[in-house]
């Protein structure tokens, strides 16, 4: 703390803005909540120095250096210019930013929070004199003024105002989810023009109702259980507030374990948030009625299988079809005949949103490449599931995935060897982070798996 304030004092002597330690610390916290580091850091690069490639069908968009370096970074930004970049997607020179920067969400930020962020970025971040690769899209996508119309149509530039009918906790959660958290950029389906179909709950029930990120399902976050008795539980309806908060803090809970694009969100952002803020996020999500969601979680609150015949088949272990046999040979070790695994260690496959997603890409990817939980302050252990690409053929993965998607009352459809082949082909690509508007075609970083999953004989 001593060094922080010393740094603050020195820094404020050189720049004009006031930077008391409290404001600095709050700015650092808000930068976590906004997950700025994830997009503004290249693999192996210095934090906030930019250069992360975000693929789009129009070309590659590179994030920029937002350290306070005056040449390469944003050291020359006034607070007003900084606010305009965050909330309106305007660069200091007046040009529009590509909405790969989630300003449609950051538009909700209060002046107070923008100020704290500004103080942090000017005085709490080390300047890095590194000019990242420049974005150079071809015509017409290089015409940044074209984004003006898009902004006018799709961006609601009003800052956050609390909803009077909600209590303070729900309003805090609403602010974090809609604003800094930019959860909707992955969890809300996008329209024809890549715009999020709803930026908040008043916009429509599609808000946070689940979306495909290049085939990987970002599940519905709408958490209020449906009214009718026996109605299909979907979204986060089967999760308690504590379940949600635990997942955001550690990447795991009794129902699920993170494996895809959400892994980096948890590692870099939500696991650093206070328990109050995570509970507030959960409280807000639980106010959103679940009916707008398509396919999500249909387990009950304890994640216990509604249908036990799959468990019986696996337990008897006679007359198995190929998929069931492959499950016993490859998966039963950790996920068990019940499919429910062990809470916080081996996630349940029963009613699991990744398993049941309409598009099986995420499941196939998990089987082929495995998955590893992030290390978080509260749960540092990076439990991992091994990948099976080296061991199972496309046909076998298809049979296995089909079995898992139909077992224990799950409702996912059949998977073909062709679909497995397509996912297998993505396993060799370079690392990267898709960031928010994946509708620009950014690949999920999960897809950017670096490894060649076919190890060459290493023994002699």
């Amino acid at each position: 703390m001593a060094t922080l304030s010393l740094f603050a004092v020195q820094a404020s002597a050189s720049a004009g803005a006031s930077s008391d330690p409290d404001t600095l610390a709050r700015g650092a916290y808000l930068a976590r909540a906004g997950d700025c580091v994830a997009c503004h850091t290249a693999p192996d690069g210095k934090p906030f120095a930019g250069g992360l490639a975000i693929e789009s069908p129009f070309g590659t968009i590179y994030s920029t250096n937002i350290t306070p370096d005056t040449h390469a970074g944003i050291g020359g930004y006034t607070e007003q210019e900084f606010a305009a970049a965050l909330r309106q997607g305007k660069r200091a020179d007046g040009a529009n930013l590509y909405p790969a920067m989630p300003y449609p969400s950051y538009a909700r930020l209060t002046d107070e929070d923008v100020h704290a962020l500004y103080v942090y970025f000017m005085h709490g971040v080390e300047p890095v004199e590194h000019q990242p690769e420049q974005t150079d899209l071809s015509f017409p996508f290089d015409q940044r003024w074209g984004i003006t119309a898009w902004n006018w149509l799709f961006v609601d530039q009003s800052t956050f105002t609390p909803t009077p009918s909600s209590d303070a906790e729900v309003n805090r959660g609403r602010y974090l989810v809609q604003g800094l958290g930019h959860c909707g950029s992955c969890h809300t389906p996008r329209g024809l023009f890549q715009q999020e179909k709803a930026l908040n709950e008043e916009d429509g029930s599609e808000y946070l109702s689940g979306a495909n990120l290049n085939g990987w399902w970002a599940p519905s976050l709408r958490g209020q259980p449906a009214d009718e008795e026996g109605a299909k539980v979907s979204g986060l309806a089967g999760w308690s507030r504590d379940d949600i908060a635990e997942y955001l803090a550690t990447g795991r809970n009794a129902h699920s374990a993170v494996g895809g694009e959400m892994t980096s969100v948890i590692a870099n952002s939500t696991s650093h948030l206070s328990e109050q803020d995570l509970t507030a996020i959960a409280a807000y999500l639980k106010t959103l009625p679940a009916e707008g969601s398509t396919r999500g979680n249909d387990s009950d609150a304890t994640g216990v299988a509604k249908e036990s015949s799959t468990e019986q088949t696996l337990t008897r272990a006679t007359g198995l079809d190929a998929g069931a046999r492959l499950y016993l040979d490859n998966c039963n070790a950790c996920h068990f005949a019940s499919g429910t695994g062990a809470p916080r260690v081996f996630p349940s496959l029963v009613g699991n949103s990744l398993v049941n997603a309409e598009n099986p890409t995420g499941l196939i990817h998990t089987i082929l490449a495995g998955a590893q939980l992030p290390s978080t302050p509260k749960n540092p252990e990076r439990l991992m599931m091994p990948g099976f690409a080296w061991r199972l053929s496309n046909q076998e993965v298809a049979a296995l995935a089909t079995f898992v998607r139909a077992g224990w009352g799950n409702t996912g459809g059949a998977v073909s060897a062709e679909q497995v082949k397509d996912v297998r082909e993505t396993l060799n690509e370079q690392p990267g982070y898709s960031g928010a508007p994946t509708r620009y075609g950014a690949k999920t970083s999960a897809e950017h798996a670096t490894d060649n999953q076919t190890p060459s004989p290493s023994k002699d």
Partner: protein, 242 residues
């Protein structure tokens, strides 16, 4: 701030952990119906990496005597035990890469003092086969592999009992029983180790024992009393044999 957007890192991590699993070459070529199907070529098409042709003939014959095919099922030859031994000797084990191999070598110490021969396992085989060959030439006028089965067994028994004096046959510092002990031990390993290492083809050794292989968890069997386990084994590579 050490945290990085790190999804890609976990892939790298996993890749490294894959590489610790040795000798995975052919991948994903197993059709669903291929119970017990194995893509390894027949023994006749195998080119030894360590053994010379004459040594190879000895190994084929000797392992066939140690674990012969019989009513219980396939033996060392069908299980490709010679392949296992050949690969083992061509690699780190053969070269004793991680053994302490400097002197002094004292043969009369208790077992806790560890390995006391001045030869790597590869050298033990080279020298042992050579001495046995000279012995067979003198005793029978032909090579070990050309003897009939009963004679081969007689020779192996003499090796095991330490009755063949390798020193007198031109091989120093190698008691014949030490050579035999290596041969027997490695033959058993080749019969029961995972097929990924070249032997235990079609999991013949595991089938013999009823060992289910690399399936890891039998929680659902804890309370299934008196029910025979119905599934055949599965290997590290995911091969099945019923």
């Amino acid at each position: 701030m050490t945290d990085q957007p790190n999804n890609w890192q976990r892939r790298t991590f996993m890749r490294q952990s894959f590489l610790t699993i040795p000798a995975i070459s052919a991948v994903a070529s197993v059709p669903l119906s291929a119970w017990a199907q194995d893509d390894t070529p027949p023994l006749s098409e195998y080119y030894p990496r360590f053994f010379e042709p004459q040594e190879w003939a000895f190994i084929l014959a000797a392992t066939d005597r140690l674990i012969p095919a019989d009513d219980n099922g396939p033996g060392a030859i069908a299980a490709h035990v010679p392949v296992f031994i050949d690969q083992e000797l061509a690699g780190d084990y053969g070269n004793a890469s991680d053994w302490y191999m400097d002197g002094p070598f004292l043969s009369d110490l208790p077992a806790e003092f560890g390995y006391q021969l001045p030869h790597t396992p590869a050298a033990v085989y080279r020298l042992g086969i050579k001495a046995t060959h000279v012995y067979c030439q003198r005793q029978y006028g032909t090579s070990f592999a050309a003897l009939d089965k009963a004679q081969q067994i007689t020779v192996l028994e003499a090796l095991e009992a330490g009755e063949i004096d390798f020193n007198a046959l031109g091989v120093a510092d190698l008691p014949s029983q030490s050579f035999f002990a290596f041969l027997l031990q490695n033959t058993k390993e080749g019969f029961f180790a995972d097929p990924i290492y070249g032997g235990n083809r079609h999991m013949a050794g595991w089938k013999l024992l009823g060992f289910p292989g690399a399936r890891a968890n039998f929680l659902e069997w804890v309370d299934q009393y008196d029910r025979p386990y119905p599934l055949g084994p599965v290997s590290l590579k995911g091969l099945q044999n019923r």
